[in-house]
Subunit: 255 residues, 2 copies
DNA sequence: TAAGATTTGTTCGTATGTATC
DNA sequence: GGATACATACGAACAAATCTT
């Protein structure tokens, strides 16, 4: 695991005890190659090992818990365990980074336009029938044009889920996370703000046709076609959002 | 800010007190629109406000500290302050997500190939003379071919810094973070493992020419050229790494 | 169902460390 | 250097959760 950078670089030597204990435990996990679910020493043992008080040890565990690196359970058989950082938590922690930074919808789409076609192309011909069926099932949520702002919003969330699922199907965890993260941000935004409140039959139809073409290209394994269709789809979505220069990501997320 | 998702979704109601306090403080920060550096209530005040013990409050602060959301200082005028999540910390937290997942060098390059040309194109004609000069200064670190494995490694780190700086110059914080994150991962990898240990004069020359062409295109504002050159550069780098199917990101990073 | 064992969760009082004035 | 205002750390006790019998 990576060392947590100190907030103040000059405070190298005078890091607090919980911080040092947390680092030591991380190193210990790495050196012993512990896997998610593996047990960590209990509070009592750590108190003895480090020669520190219970409170200090517990603060160290909270530091690790907030990062998703450990989970604790009470009761017999309980204790602290190595945790696998979930996608949700990683998204939440990363979203905090952008909280005080200005990220516009256009910024998000600049990245989506570059990444999503790449994903689509790499997935062409690689999806199972079950996966294709799942994508088609999601599309059923917007088989009919929306009749209200609320329905429009629900459909937009569903279409973002389409992209998030697609990103799960690849075998590139990095690409999958980046795409899923952006879908998550846009979803939160859709739910919180009154974005996408104007049902537009024409755009609905074109967006749906895009996805139908995309599924077809994915099924037949036409990577170039999948890339082109996804690119058109993204560009259309971007122009749709272009008006919305709202601020984005004005919330936190973490444990 | 975003709520920290519980490790176990079913444990909605029985979240521990430090967790609930941390969430309450986050909400309080958001609702009051506090900015980085703004003061949070002191321990004593929080103890009274929440009606909880000092230990519980402190554990809550550790949860927030690990996420980079607060910083604490001792002494008069000290206390807890709203913190801005640094790029380093966000990178570290995100790297933890990938610790137990397999991310290959090829995976990283699939994303780089999609993103870096996009960045280069969007920056064409937008850089100041000072920024261009800084990039050229970095290139000086590999003006001559490496004569040893160690020099080769240093040059590779420097060339990654080139890309990281370039990503800082854009005004898209999202794109900048993604690119900088990948450069960071590759840098750590270069330092830790014996990657890039075979000096290769031919590849060194081609890589350097790429960057010279890139600078020229950025200066003249030729977006298409910048895109193409960066794409070639990335593809060459990828083929260079292709042999290295080593596992990546086998370390943690956080506070 | 109930009791007991185990482990984390929480409190309180006190003392120490640290930075500012 | 001393006083002040904070966070930091310790220790003992008790509470709550959960597994086993």
């Amino acid at each position: 695991m990576a060392e947590t950078p100190p907030a103040d670089p000059k405070s190298r030597g005078r890091r607090s005890r919980p911080l040092r204990v947390a680092d030591a435990i991380k190193d210990w996990v790495v050196e012993h190659g512990l896997q998610p679910g593996d047990r960590l020493p209990g509070e009592a043992e750590l108190i003895e090992q480090f020669g520190m008080s219970k409170g200090t040890i517990r603060e160290a565990m909270r530091l690790l818990q907030a990062q998703g690196l450990v989970e604790t359970k009470t009761g017999p058989g309980g204790g602290s365990f190595v945790g696998e950082v979930t996608r949700e938590r990683a998204s939440a922690l990363l979203a905090n980074y952008f909280y005080f930074r200005d990220v516009s919808i256009n910024d998000i789409y600049q990245v989506r336009i570059a990444l999503e076609p790449e994903l689509a192309a790499s997935l062409a011909g690689k999806l199972t029938d079950a996966q294709l069926a799942e994508l088609e099932a999601i599309m059923e949520h917007y088989a009919e044009p929306a009749r209200s702002a609320e329905e429009e919003r629900q459909q937009h969330v569903a279409s973002l889920r389409f992209h998030a699922r697609l990103s799960d199907f690849g075998n590139n965890a990095l690409l999958g996370f980046f795409i899923g993260f952006m879908a998550q941000i846009l979803t939160d935004l859709t739910v919180y703000k009154q974005l996408y409140t104007a049902p537009n039959h024409d755009l609905w139809q074109r967006g749906r046709l895009h996805q139908i073409d995309l599924i077809a290209a994915l099924r037949t394994g036409d990577a170039a076609k999948a890339h082109a269709v996804m690119r058109s789809h993204m560009e259309m979505a971007q122009s749709l959002m272009d008006i919305q220069e709202a601020e984005v990501m004005k919330r936190f997320i973490a444990e």
